[in-house]
């Protein structure tokens, strides 16, 4: 349990990667890193998808990432209609790619490919939490 707090709309409560939400609540966005082969996964996963080891640790995604691509969403999927418009962004943090939304206050004109960003937790209403990008 616990993962039902994640996202604007949650689709699952039970996952072996639920600690992700505990870290968000502590102010950290974390990926998982395999202690056997060293590979990093985001979204996080309980076992390594490369060497199948269960010896994985939580690794904070910190520092500056770069925007790989972005787009402004005017039509949202069911359940997210009230959120539009929002800027969908793919950012690269030294090889860890993170897909998410840009901070609501940032206008499309101020977003550029290659721009430096950081990723940070975002507290939502009703005890829910997610992450978002902010200019670094």
């Amino acid at each position: 349990m616990g993962f039902e707090k994640f996202g604007q709309v949650s689709f699952t409560s039970q996952t072996r990667a639920a600690e992700f939400v505990d870290y968000l609540e502590k102010g950290e966005v974390r990926a998982t890193k395999c202690n056997e082969c060293g590979r990093v996964f985001f979204p996080p996963r309980a076992d390594c998808s490369w060497c199948m080891s269960s010896n994985v640790e939580w690794l904070e995604i910190k520092g500056q990432g770069k925007i790989d691509s972005f787009t402004k969403v005017n039509y949202a999927p069911t359940g997210f209609e009230k959120d539009v418009p929002y800027i969908l962004t793919l950012a690269d943090f030294d090889g860890i790619k993170v897909f998410g939304r840009m901070n609501k206050e940032i206008s499309e004109d101020n977003v550029k490919v290659g721009m430096a960003v950081k990723v940070a937790p975002l507290t939502l209403s009703e005890g829910k939490i997610t992450y978002e990008f902010l200019p670094a």
Binding site: F11, V73, P77, L90, V113
Partner: protein
């Protein structure tokens, strides 16, 4: 190695926003398919594969294959199940039928596929779409509808290779022109370049005619061993020559590249190798034009042109009738629509007709054809090669 396998007939329901149930659509497609092979009856079919992605949510029907079997008067004895790979569910069914027949586990399989969308509620489609990527992480943040993702792909391709909005529009103008001849297409009306360029924006730079619609519909084909095929038809035989289906990532963040589709290159190389042909041998192709930018990248990653030249390829008419390789000769997804499980089957029917020589508009002398489906946010690619020669 194994037996030769043929596609011997096919048919579609009318595609569009239909006042009909899923079973009505499968029945319409099945009848059209049997009508295409007068020498074969539903009693001759020993296997059934049904490709459908949203049947459980939008059609509220699990265990779909036995229902379709009953409605088509088929009593399968070698295989009777549903196949799911979202937009490539239908072509996945054809690959499996090919393998089963080639290995001798079945002789005559009807492969059908389709969707009934916009039910029980219209919003259901856009809710289910969230489950087509990474539901728990990306979906929970409202990331999952295809247009924003493909707009990022288009922006990157434009930036990296100088592809223009005009070139994107040229894909839809071509495919709508082809679809205007197709009596089963959702859109049977041509559009001009001006119509396409001045259409309302969906997600910049994609405009209305750059995007395929939401569609109800079904299609069906008969796959049979060569020996059995000869019993049922006097028409020229069309063989399945090679197949490939590849995935290198699921979550779109983990794509090696947005503008070079690695899984498409792998799937097509596998299909070319098994078929013993190269890209320049393909006379006609149906590729997955869910968005205009998709078709442009597909020209490149299927090897029809060099990387980055896809925009020029359509601009110079090389993907039109009379060009290097006419693409989406029946109108593609942009005209026919896209009932996910039906699309790969619809593509196979057009290739069958082109190679048999009875298409709505014929690519003269076509002997080798290709179909391609992408599925998800380009998370998997499926390629089949068909030919008049084994």
């Amino acid at each position: 190695m194994g037996r030769n396998v043929c596609i011997i007939g096919g048919g579609m329901s009318l595609w569009g926003v239909r006042q009909a149930t899923a079973r009505d659509l499968y029945q319409e497609a099945g009848k059209a398919c049997f009508d295409d092979v007068p020498g074969l009856s539903n009693k001759d079919v020993d296997g059934l594969l049904v490709g459908s992605a949203f049947t459980e949510r939008s059609n509220f029907q699990t265990h779909l294959a036995p229902l379709v079997a009953e409605y088509l008067g088929i009593k399968p004895k070698n295989i009777c199940c549903r196949v799911e790979l979202l937009c490539a569910s239908g072509s996945s069914g054809i690959i499996l039928a090919y393998g089963l027949i080639k290995s001798g586990l079945a002789d005559v399989i009807l492969v059908t596929g389709g969707e009934k969308l916009y039910t029980p509620q219209r919003w259901e489609v856009f809710y289910s779409e969230l489950g087509t990527g990474d539901h728990d992480f990306d979906g929970a943040q409202g990331l999952g509808l295809p247009p924003p993702f493909f707009s990022m792909v288009a922006q990157k391709h434009m930036k990296e290779y100088g592809t223009t909005e005009e070139q994107l529009s040229m894909v839809s103008v071509k495919n709508r022109r082809n679809g205007a001849r197709n009596p089963k297409a959702q859109f049977q009306k041509e559009i001009t370049l001006e119509d396409a360029l001045n259409a309302p924006p969906i997600v910049r730079p994609l405009k209305l005619f750059d995007c395929c619609p939401v569609t109800d519909g079904a299609a069906a084909v008969i796959i049979a061993s060569e020996e059995r095929a000869r019993e049922y038809t006097d028409k020229p035989l069309v063989y399945i020559k090679g197949t490939g289906q590849a995935s290198v990532n699921n979550a779109s963040a983990n794509m090696p590249s947005m503008t070079t589709w690695e899984a498409l290159k792998i799937a097509s190389q596998e299909a070319y190798r098994k078929a013993g042909v190269k890209p320049s041998d393909i006379d006609v192709a149906q590729t997955h034009d869910c968005f205009t930018i998709s078709e442009i990248i597909e020209y490149e990653d299927l090897g029809f042109c060099e990387k980055g030249e896809g925009g020029l390829f359509v601009e110079e008419g090389r993907s039109d009738f009379g060009g290097d390789v006419p693409v989406n000769t029946d109108g593609g997804l942009l005209s026919c629509g896209h009932p996910f499980g039906g699309t790969g089957i619809r593509q196979a029917i057009e290739i069958l007709r082109q190679l048999r020589g009875d298409a709505f508009k014929q690519v003269e002398g076509a002997r080798t054809g290709l179909t391609h489906n992408l599925s998800g946010l380009t998370a998997a690619h499926t390629v089949l090669i068909y030919g008049r020669d084994v």
